[in-house]
Symmetry: C2
Subunit: 267 residues, 2 copies
């Protein structure tokens, strides 16, 4: 049976609200996902929330009902509350009618089974959580295995990243590592490390990429550090026809990821 919560100062309300903060997410090991569409993606990927909060003010969608019942059966803390309190939890004026707090999976490189997919995305010091979520969504669309976050990236489990992922947070493996750990791990098995760079004449349309392909995406304003480029097995350039010499990081990742897949079409 759902607990009814109508007090803003309730401990669970505060706890969920706290998940907007990275430190809190880390110490709790949880993250927040909002809205029926993303919760449904989670359920379809076998992920149910440990805490679920909803308002029945506008009626309950049958799909929401299913997710609530399934989460409860797995021992979730189920909370029925008001739109105002959901608004407090989510920090938004117009909150979604349902939200869930999910367990963060382990996120070491040991959890990455590279043979599971021919394509992996690797981001280095990417600062915008919206870009990280969008890259996860692109990873899902291109059949990537997951996203490896190198060095000082924004948190893939932040509310903004989860939202931009449109549910791919549940389908993509996620690992975080320093470059110094990543490189020996990468070289301990097969895999082609491909970087995007302005310092090369190799056009991105020319190669047939190897499998598994690890696509390295640099920081939004700096691109890849030179020593990282030097370790790549292949550097490619996306030609720029206008004034600018760069693309949005999530756009560059997508153009490359789709081209890597396209190169495998006629093999």
């Amino acid at each position: 049976m759902p607990r009814q919560i109508s007090s803003f100062s309730n401990e669970t309300v505060k706890r969920i609200r706290g998940l907007r903060d990275k430190k809190q997410r880390k110490s709790e090991g949880l993250f927040l996902a909002e809205g029926l569409r993303i919760l449904a993606e989670g359920r379809d990927s076998g992920c149910l929330p440990e805490i679920i909060a909803y308002s029945s003010a506008g009626g309950i969608h049958p799909l929401a009902e299913e997710i609530i019942v399934a989460a409860e059966a797995q021992g979730a803390d189920v909370i029925e509350t008001t739109p105002d309190i959901l608004s407090k939890m989510s920090g938004k004026d117009n909150p979604q009618a349902i939200l869930g707090a999910y367990r963060q999976p382990e996120s070491g490189l040991a959890g990455i089974d590279r043979m599971r997919s021919p394509l992996w995305l690797v981001a280095q010091s990417l600062r915008d959580p919206g870009n990280i979520g969008t890259i996860l969504r692109t990873g899902d669309a291109t059949g990537a295995g997951g996203l490896i976050l190198l060095d000082d990236c924004a948190d893939a489990y932040s509310v903004e990243a989860v939202r931009a992922s449109m549910g791919a947070i549940f389908t993509q493996s996620i690992a975080a590592a320093r470059w110094e750990e990543f490189l020996p791990w990468l070289r301990s098995g097969v895999g082609q490390l491909v970087g995007m760079s302005l310092q090369t004449e190799h056009d991105y349309l020319e190669p047939i990429y190897e499998q598994p392909c690890f696509l390295l995406i640099g920081n939004e304003s700096q691109g890849l550090p030179e020593p990282y480029e030097a370790e790549c097995d292949l550097l490619v350039k996306i030609p720029m026809l206008g004034r600018a010499d760069s693309l949005n990081a999530a756009v560059a990742a997508a153009v490359m990821a789709f081209q890597v897949r396209a190169s495998w079409r006629n093999r």
Copy 2:
């Protein structure tokens, strides 16, 4: 000579701050761009601000100095002020040290010379200003002529869109129109209207696209309305390999725009 402004209630301060509001932008015919990088793109594209405000608190960059001198020579209102007042103007805690208010160009379809470029991007009811700015940036990178905004799109001159465009707001032609105006305009000349759709078996990698190609991008959550798809000369599908059936709108636009260019490589 720059005017010194140190009062938060100064009329120009209020006027610039007002440019964060769409109605105000429309009635003034101006828009706001922030930061040296974007202002430099503007200058390099032949655009100088009508009002320019800066703080010399951290020293003035030589490039900023050049832009200030050039704007002043063209009769701009040049304002030297404090970081606090720049913060008030821009609505941000950590404002850029320089910002400019620029004249919005005319934005009717009559201003679009379709023969100037083989590629044009067309967005329909796109709601996220960040997506619009990112699409402008992609348009610049792919040598598109500009972006046509159909129906109820977010404002390309909003602060978020200008920021995400990374200066492409100055290099891309921008027009706004209803579908009912756009279609007869399109059919009054040459051009292939290409839509992305799930209702087709045509893979996006197969065609050699015609020139000029008008690439039609649908709303973030609804995609293209069916009657719009019916008017397209070609519908193509980007295959999805994961659970999701859609991409971020700016990502989809970029994957298509780069593929259109790629299809012209070996002609």
